[in-house]
């Protein structure tokens, strides 16, 4: 039983896991040789059989997504390394410490999909991860794993690293494609989905860094071996980023299906100073918060969804009993307000209003009507305030800003009311 896939090399060879020499010495590019001898359709079936689900946030089955790819050429693979969901820092580690693993996954995926030009879109604040990936590309090109007639197979591929410039919204796949086309990073209305009309209107697959980093292992070991790891609907290992009030923050590659208690207390060492857990965010700033009564529920994509939140990008942000949750919610809403692209009125205006209302509650200027106003503005972005969220906007950024507000109202309304009760009335 495998318990680690993505981080074995970097753990065993901390000082040079990024180099081609170490990659080859530890079995690197054997999956590519194997894949190039396979029929692309068989390869695609294997990935479908793996039950690998997207690691960027939405959790969509990777093989199914590949199956939607349109018939026309040229077609593109775009790896999403725009990792910007607050609390998430796993792709940064995968890029810095094992860039060849991602690159081999990209080459295999491109071969399977008939792609000759692939892109890696890396967020602008990650120049070092981008440098490491570019160095891997240069090494692989010189050694014949990339470029024309790869390993004598007749298959050609170029990979371009594209640096973003500080816009969270470019992690949304259609915004990312607009950005890559040299436009403002504004999400597109779907359909058409990128698989049909994506980059330059060609069929395009957009996959997260972690998702594609799993591909070499799947090719080497078979899709069914991957599917056999962990719970049926959350197959494989998963990188979790733990941060906040936690004794051992960091990235942990684990098999899903353990409990939140296991993850927070056993693996990440619990809360500093022996303090009590107040709440945690189970899957990045966009996700509704969990409170301690859910500590013994399983960490799987489906269980977290059934409990009213999402595993998202795998970012777990822990808050202890001393946390001012209004301040925490304000900080998250401020993020979304700043990152709203401005296309859709409910999000552009709504997130701004929500940020201001939370600010004045936090700073002693709250008004009795503010709770109703916050919920009303939230409802205009995400009608019904239900989970999974409805939206009046093109993309899910608006509803993401609603998550901390509903979390606050569902679990800590008394704290908000107390803060408003103590406010000094403004004449």
């Amino acid at each position: 039983m495998t318990d680690k896939i993505l981080t074995t090399r970097m753990d065993a060879h901390p000082s040079d896991s990024n180099t081609l020499a170490r990659y080859l010495e530890t079995g690197g590019y054997t999956a590519l040789r194997k894949a190039l001898a396979m029929d692309p359709d068989v390869l695609k079936e294997s990935v479908k059989a793996s039950n690998l689900r997207g690691r960027g946030g939405a959790g969509f089955p990777c093989g199914v997504k590949w199956g939607f790819l349109g018939d026309s050429y040229p077609r593109y693979l775009v790896v999403n390394g725009d990792e910007s969901e607050p609390g998430t820092f796993k792709d940064r580690q995968l890029l810095e410490r094992d860039p060849h693993q991602l690159l081999e996954g990209m080459i295999i995926t491109s071969y399977a999909l008939g792609v000759k030009q692939a892109f890696a879109y890396i967020r602008g604040e990650y120049p070092k991860p981008a440098r490491r990936l570019q160095a891997a590309i240069d090494e692989a090109s010189a050694a014949g794993y990339l470029g024309d007639d790869i390993l004598g197979s007749g298959f050609d591929l170029d990979v371009t690293v594209h640096l973003g410039a500080g816009a969270y919204i470019c992690g949304e796949e259609t915004a990312l494609l607009n950005s890559l086309e040299g436009k403002r990073g504004e999400p597109r209305i779907k359909p058409p989905f990128p698989a049909i009309a994506g980059l330059y209107a060609g069929p395009t697959i957009v996959n997260n860094v972690e998702t594609i980093s799993n591909i070499p292992w799947i090719v080497n070991n078979g899709g069914s071996a991957y599917a056999a790891i962990g719970p049926e609907t959350s197959a494989g290992t998963r990188m979790f980023s733990l941060s906040g009030h936690i004794n051992r923050p960091g990235n942990y590659e684990i098999v899903m299906g353990l409990s939140w208690r296991d993850l927070i207390y056993d693996i990440a060492g619990g809360i500093p100073g022996g303090k009590e857990l107040k709440c945690w965010i189970p899957g990045g700033a966009s996700a509704p918060w969990f409170t301690p009564e859910l500590l013994d529920t399983p960490v799987t994509i489906d269980d977290v969804g059934a409990n009213g939140s999402m595993l998202g990008s795998g970012a777990v942000v822990v808050m202890d009993e001393t946390t001012n949750v209004v301040a925490a919610a304000h900080r998250i809403v401020r993020f979304f307000s700043h990152e709203s692209c401005g296309q859709c009125t409910p999000c552009r205006e709504g997130t701004t209003w929500m940020e201001r209302i939370l600010w004045r509650i936090l700073n002693g200027y709250g008004r009795p009507a503010d709770i109703g106003l916050l919920l009303d503005v939230s409802d205009n972005i995400s009608p019904g305030l239900r989970w999974p969220p409805a939206q009046t906007t093109i993309c899910p950024l608006g509803p993401s800003a609603v998550s901390p507000v509903t979390s606050l109202m569902d679990h800590f309304r008394d704290e908000v009311e107390a803060m408003i009760g103590e406010a000094v009335p403004v004449a």
């Binding site: 940064r92 070092k128 436009k183 990073g185 941060s243």
Partner: protein, 209 residues
């Protein structure tokens, strides 16, 4: 087309040509070209946008629409050292506001401004992907993690006094950092020489000292 950048350094002119050839459509090169133009002009000036417009075949208005969308394209002067303090949720929970305060006071420069001598710019930023090493700071987009207020002050003083030509994450981490998001392990030999992401094809990376 490329005669619009005849006054650029020879190496940056070469880089611009490589970038234009890296994409199926010239327009896609607008983002890296804006970084390159920032290096030439210090920030994204009107001239910079006109040059990028000539290179990509986009209208100047289209270039401006892109430049104004992304926070990392600076349209005002930026100091030699751009100090970015993360104040998003994970860093906030670990005391980032005190770090920002310490940086502002030591630099004598409020959030969003540049010091009068043009050396230091201070900004608060949204999540930079260093949550496991919170609170985190970047100088010219190179990371320092696990930064306490006193170390943040020391970092500002060091930038002012030592004026490193190349900003190296490993060096800053050793001097001013503590907890890291993950073990960096592999020595970083490249660093930033300007307040633009130090990525080779965009022209600012070079070997460290």
């Amino acid at each position: 087309m490329t005669n619009a950048i005849e006054h650029w350094s020879a190496s940056n002119q070469d880089r611009a040509r490589v970038l234009l050839d890296s994409y199926p459509d010239r327009r896609s090169a607008v983002m890296p070209l804006l970084y390159l133009a920032s290096l030439e002009h210090g920030h994204v000036t009107e001239d910079a946008m006109r040059e990028v417009s000539d290179l990509t075949g986009m209208s100047a208005a289209q270039v401006q629409s892109v430049a104004s969308f992304y926070t990392m394209y600076k349209r005002d002067d930026v100091g030699t050292y751009l100090i970015s303090v993360c104040t998003s949720i994970s860093c906030f929970l670990r005391g980032a506001d005190d770090v920002l305060d310490a940086v502002e006071r030591e630099a004598g420069t409020p959030d969003g401004e540049t010091s009068e001598d043009g050396l230091l710019s201070v900004e608060h930023v949204e999540c930079i992907g260093a949550c496991g090493g919170a609170p985190a700071v970047q100088v010219n987009y190179e990371f320092v993690e696990g930064v306490r207020p006193d170390k943040a002050q020391a970092l500002v003083r060091w930038l002012r006094d030592a004026r490193p030509r190349v900003v190296l994450a490993d060096e800053m981490q050793q001097l001013f950092g503590s907890e890291q998001s993950f073990d960096w392990a592999i020595a970083g030999v490249e660093g930033a020489i300007a307040p633009v992401p130090a990525f080779g094809p965009y022209g600012s990376a070079e070997d460290g000292r």
